[in-house]
């Protein structure tokens, strides 16, 4: 009678909340080059510090912007000269989609919609 081979555990499945590619994994830390050129390993520590401070400031500003936008009317300027207005709801964790309500489109008003962030060039709203 054959015994089934035992396993330590099952393979881990996708995380429902993120697209993965953990930035803390050893491979990411070793291989991922940052987008700004001064962040090369050879750059001097002071430059790196200034850059990090700038990055944190920009990131914080962006996140605060998203928070302020909640439930406000926002105009989205998108590719192919598309301009739409909607009430901003929320963003997903990777900033891939924006959840909006009352999206005014040339073919009518969509009560609830998801806007794909990679299609958005810029957005404006009144604070």
């Amino acid at each position: 009678m054959a015994t089934p081979v035992s396993v330590l555990r099952l393979p881990k499945g996708p995380d429902p909340n993120s697209r993965g590619f953990d930035p803390n994994s050893p491979r990411f830390v070793a291989l991922c080059r940052t987008s700004i050129s001064t962040s090369a390993a050879e750059a001097d520590a002071k430059e790196l510090q200034r850059e990090q401070r700038a990055r944190s400031a920009l990131r914080e500003r962006f996140l605060r912007c998203l928070l302020t936008m909640t439930n406000k009317k926002v105009q989205f300027h998108m590719h192919e000269k598309v301009d739409v207005e909607a009430t901003f709801g929320a963003s997903d964790i990777d900033v891939l989609n924006f959840q909006v309500s009352d999206l005014h489109t040339p073919i009518g008003v969509q009560k609830e919609a998801l806007i794909r962030c990679q299609d958005v060039i810029s957005f404006t709203f009144d604070m």
């Binding site: 089934p4 081979v5 996708p14 993965g20």
Partner: protein, 349 residues
Amino acid sequence: MIYLTLPLSVFCPLSSWRSMAMRQTPLTCSGHTRPVVDLAFSGITPFGYFLISACKDGKPMLRQGDTGDWIGTFLGHKGAVWGATLNTDATKAATAAADFTAKVWDAVSGDEVLSLAHKHIVKSVNFTQDSNCLLTAGNDKLLRIYDLSQPEAPSQEIAGHSAAIKKALWCNNDKQILSAADDKTIRLWDRSSMQEVKMLTFETSVSSMEYMADGELLVITYGKTIAFYNALSLELIKTVEAPAPINSASLHPEKDFFVAGGEDFKLYKFDYSTKEELESYKGHFGPVHCVRFSPDGELYASGSEDGTLRLWQTAVGKTYGLWKCVLPGKSLFVSVYTCLVRTFHFQPV
């Protein structure tokens, strides 16, 4: 102290020990919501090896090759992904989709690096060994070569096939290209002259094609046949018949086994030299679309219509990845010791 030596066979008859055959436990990787149509392994990197799966749900996934653990999902395609590949060191990925684009991705961060517009559904993508060029092919019947260092430059196009191309691969040290199309031909092209060098014609459409650089071998499947060709001369080496129509086959790196899967949902393992069917495994709930050996040959992965990927051991029972082997010797010792203590009232010294 009285030491009694008794033959081992008193405590564990060798016959029952030998008959402790191990049954294959496939590891199921879930996550896709539609059929898995293509998969590819990277080479062996300092961080192990990796696996990418193409799925009709439009979301190709990257997994750790030896465990099947999900690493990330490449988001961006707007249609079914028909082909996926990784470069040797798994730093780049490329995908071919029904949204008329082929995309190149950073396989470490998951970011989309390049989107290459085509005129029809793209079915196949393949990197050169130096990862500098990408070969694409699909329903527009053209082979396209992109220089990834100059992505805005137009691609080089090779025409010739009279129907949609299913698969296109670099071969012969990236000096030549092999393509399989729905016009029931496989053609060999010279890269520099962009001319057709040889052609193989079949009675029926080829369902899959795998190229092995080491040994210059080509593994082709059509109908219930798995055929092995010399990749340079396109001379037939041998054919093997399977019990059911086969969609994909893969030869072990050491060329002693090959595995195949197809319409009857099963995975078959054959001996390459004797052509003998060694094993068959049930597990998938739908036709098997693709099967590939890992670069170290220790496991093979299969993708199915049922939306799952399964990992199978080459040597069933061996400790590898998530599979662990309970050594018969270890449990034998425990049972012998227990027997001795009970029977002879042994007290440990």
